[in-house]
Amino acid sequence: MSNQPSTNKAVPGSTSQMESTKANLVAALPGIELTWSVFCDQDRVVFPAGSLLKVLKACKSAGFDQLTDLTAVDLLEYGNAADRFEIVYCLLNVDSGLRLIAKTHLSEPDLTIPSATQVWFGADWLEREVYDMYGIIFDGHPNFKRLLLPQEFQSFPLRKDYPVKGRGERHNFPVVTRAES
């Protein structure tokens, strides 16, 4: 048991440390269009979906050793967004406490992007949940199937075109009797 004193207090937002990490990332990813922005002291970067694995691997090399969260947003009703889906990777450097939110965009019909499980294995369930809720397919995932909903479920409920009250799935769910099972 060790009670360690306060060290390495990280200041969120664009600090000099973040600036140098940014410079490293830009240098490691030549020819890839990265759009940086800051909101509420948070650094964000938007990158093209085609270079997803390159960007994530470069992020990991730049020190972001934890994938804190992976989620998606359906932009169907969001102002005049150009793309349908936004995939959000919240990254963290555990030692320095730096955070980076990396985003990419996807549109129908091709909703396939490479899986991040080969970069951080913690992406496993997070990607399955995003598939479950939005129908985005993560190529190269070791055990790709729905996480929360039944495997035979047809829709993707967090999409904006799915009604809040559902489409009667619960009401019409097949009841298996003891004799049939």
Binding site: S2, N3, S6, C40, G79, L126, L147
Partner: protein, 406 residues
Amino acid sequence: MPLELIEDPSLGSDKREGLWTLNFGPQHPATHTTLRLVLQLDGEMVIDAEPDIGFLHSGFEKLGEVLDFNQYVTIVDRMNYISPLANEIAWHHSVEKLLGIELTPRCKYIRTIFAELMRIHDHLLCTGTCVLDLGGATAFMYAFNEREAIYEICERASGQRFHTSYTRVGGLLYDVTDDWVEMVKKYCKNFPKAFRDFEGLVMKNRIFVERTRDVGVLSKEDAIAGGATGPVARASGVVRDLRRDEPYLAYDELDFDVCASQGGDCYARFQVRMMEMLESIKIIEQAIEKLPSGPIYAAGTGKETIPDKREVYRSIEGLIHHFEGIMPNRQMASPKDSVYAATESPNGELGYYIVGDGSFRAYRARTRPPSLLHFSLFARMMRGCMLSDVVAVLGSINIIAAELDR
């Protein structure tokens, strides 16, 4: 058969014939709620564990897109129902970050006290039931006795014991009273004695120690890459605590230590939780001493916060103010942007990723549940353990199915 041999990929399926499959849950006393495990066993040794979750999925995140920032607090309450107020604080922490609201000092301190009470609340349940699952019913009763006192503190402040729904955007439902302060002080005074009794029953209990030490080991590398946070990560040597590393509320004005251990096993996780309870008491004592007076609602344009009930019922201005804060077409507009903010909940990093679309409700309200990430590491922790260790590991990572499935 030794574990390395079974894991050899060149091994044909006929060699795996000796393995048998065991269904664990969804209704089993040690799962506490509903979750299911499919275990692959070689005799009594666990070769693989595949969790099957989703039994409690209730579409909380979809509801977050329908309810406004104040209404949704009743839903986040029900995620980790072991420490409801910690969820509320995390949710409104993110909302306030999105809306750019700075809390008043009194509100910050009251929320800090509640956040720490919830940490004790959660850790008492986790440690108590962990011992219960391993056969120690007495210690469980000691832990639950202390939890009862925290329910009473919650009830005095909010009127509710369990699902308090106590925080509001930029403030709190009610201000606390002097007798609440006395209750908290009394709790801090009484807790160490009860804690010593509890600790004495468990920490040196040979059966407990032998059933948890070197069981369910999670390495530091796995903890980082797998997204483990909170006590689970700290027990594996990842010394990271958002209260210290990204101070929010009043934590930067208070003195406390971050508890960590190197073991990575069930015993280390148990130990970290036990130590954290004493640290929480230290924080509460300081915060209650420093508790500032003043308003609990942040001053601003007025629309984002709901006025005090006395003003609403006794003045026309207050009533108009209340109306403006409640009616969907008159509420404050949120920025058209997104924010991720996290707090150190008892179980780990509880974050919310909120996308604002210009209304007073979230376009997308993503919860980052610590239980989900921890449970995804379960199979790694279980490999090579015995069947009877399943309950020890499940208890030590404190899976709350309502938060897991949302």
